[in-house]
Symmetry: C2
Subunit: 348 residues, 2 copies
Amino acid sequence: MKTAAYAAQSADSDLGPIEIQRRQLGENDVHIDIEYCGVCHSDIHTAHNDWGGTVYPVVPGHEIIGRVKAVGSKVSNFKEGQLVGVGCMVDSCQTCSACDDDLEQYCENGAVMTYGSEDPILGGPTHGGYSDQIVVDQKFVLNVSEKLDTKAVAPLLCAGITTYSPLRQWNVKAGDKVGVVGLGGLGHMGVKIAKAMGAEVVMITTSPEKGSDAKRLGASEVLVSKDKDAMKQQAGSFDFILNTVPVSHDLNPYVNLLKRDATMVIVGALTPLPELSGGGLILGRKRIAGSLIGGIAETQEMLDFCAEHDIVSDVEMIDMQDINTAYKRVMDSDVKYRFVIDMKSLKS
Amino acid sequence: MKTAAYAAQSADSDLGPIEIQRRQLGENDVHIDIEYCGVCHSDIHTAHNDWGGTVYPVVPGHEIIGRVKAVGSKVSNFKEGQLVGVGCMVDSCQTCSACDDDLEQYCENGAVMTYGSEDPILGGPTHGGYSDQIVVDQKFVLNVSEKLDTKAVAPLLCAGITTYSPLRQWNVKAGDKVGVVGLGGLGHMGVKIAKAMGAEVVMITTSPEKGSDAKRLGASEVLVSKDKDAMKQQAGSFDFILNTVPVSHDLNPYVNLLKRDATMVIVGALTPLPELSGGGLILGRKRIAGSLIGGIAETQEMLDFCAEHDIVSDVEMIDMQDINTAYKRVMDSDVKYRFVIDMKSLKS
């Protein structure tokens, strides 16, 4: 079936309208009318081919909220009109040890990402949420509470789970002192979620002017990483650090903030990180780890947690036609904290 | 009390004989006649002031085996003639959370190292095991089995615990695939201990010629890290990697060998490590950590484990007078795998 979308046609072109093919509803599929789609920095990296390997045209978008339009004959958990979400993945092998462990994001045979993966049914690249419709296997469709502000739920599907998963996996608990490095789309969700878990959250930022906003979001304190005295004063005091910085940066000052045996998890920087001091790790048995989004079961858990704690993203709504301006503003860090596309605009 | 020792007088001087002051036996002290002392690479770094801060004269040596000559009035666990050991530490605050957790090596007030720390009783630097006698608080004296080859037990006090502790802390168990990177004083102990824990040990080395020796020590396989095809073939297959390389080196090829959620622990390289790929960690939730020797209780556990499994170090015996030649050979990696000083030679 044909449907409307927005795509980049090359690394340096603006995004514009396109008609794309979606598969016919299979027996395990859910057909979704997309209402909202968040704009993630990964969308921009992929559209611009920053990581290589982009196949054009690319339809980005993996923070999808919509309503069920139809379900396949073997689908019993979803019904027409239900509010649902789709995140970064739309399929995985379901047979490897990662899939067995509900960690489809680490699928050993390669998860099928919402956009830019090889489409196992139609061939060619999968197409994401900058579109008015999508058809997804029921295992990768999430149930979304009607309780929250729907449009502001969209970014939870990527920014929410990316920060929730490491906080949960490393057992952040009430009373823990948690640092969140970087206040952007990921960081602002990290602050809200860690706070809701009962942690004492310290926003760690290079920009003192972000302080008041961080406190509004739930941080009890702001630590300016350029302030050497302040950094020294808080050395060895953090139970956990969530590092959301999306670019290469020096990890050593943050390692120094960790308590003995504590971990800093990197969720943003896929790029090479400059020289890391072995001694900084050795002299306190400290740990650095990475974490990639979260599995489907954990994503559902996160959505339920956010509904329970009234957590959504801070969003700025745009029309589909504003996407190129929005990309420029994301690159300039000029958004608090996530753009969300109102997909009604695509039809106008 | 005065006793004989060997010391470096400056960063570029050879080590030579010196007379040093040891404290009088206190009520909690154990007076030890030193029989053997291992030669650790740290001894050389300290003698040469490679890490800065060395106070001369420095008497190195923290792999000490000897017999109890006398005990203080409050010492009941040790008696005259008993075989004992002293490792890298001789005191700590005993009040901080690290000491409470039996992790004196991470003492928040600074453990008193066997040599080169401020001596809390005599003032000046503490003096290590290149000496015929030492007086140590009973809490830092280890019980050594008579069952093993005594002189080859000495290196367990540093090289043994440095490798045993991370293997134990990260729960290496029977059947795990464990990589040991680097075959030197630390690496050869890592292979023996991991093998005794039931792991399938793979020696990972840049030098194919070390293969046969690694297998003799207990490795079931040798992986040459320069062989890109072999490294690719084993990607994602290791449950744990113990990295004993003592100098700066690229961690990324080893991170790539880890399974999802697996850890590489660095015990050798205190120096800056070159660019680390964030993506390498993120795309498999992989972990890098550091580890420093081990606490006193765990050191005793390691000595008991080694006695039970007949594990000692491979050693080459030297006289005290040979120490400068031995240092040169250690720097040339020309020792299999640890020099041990026969302290009888000091008196000759």
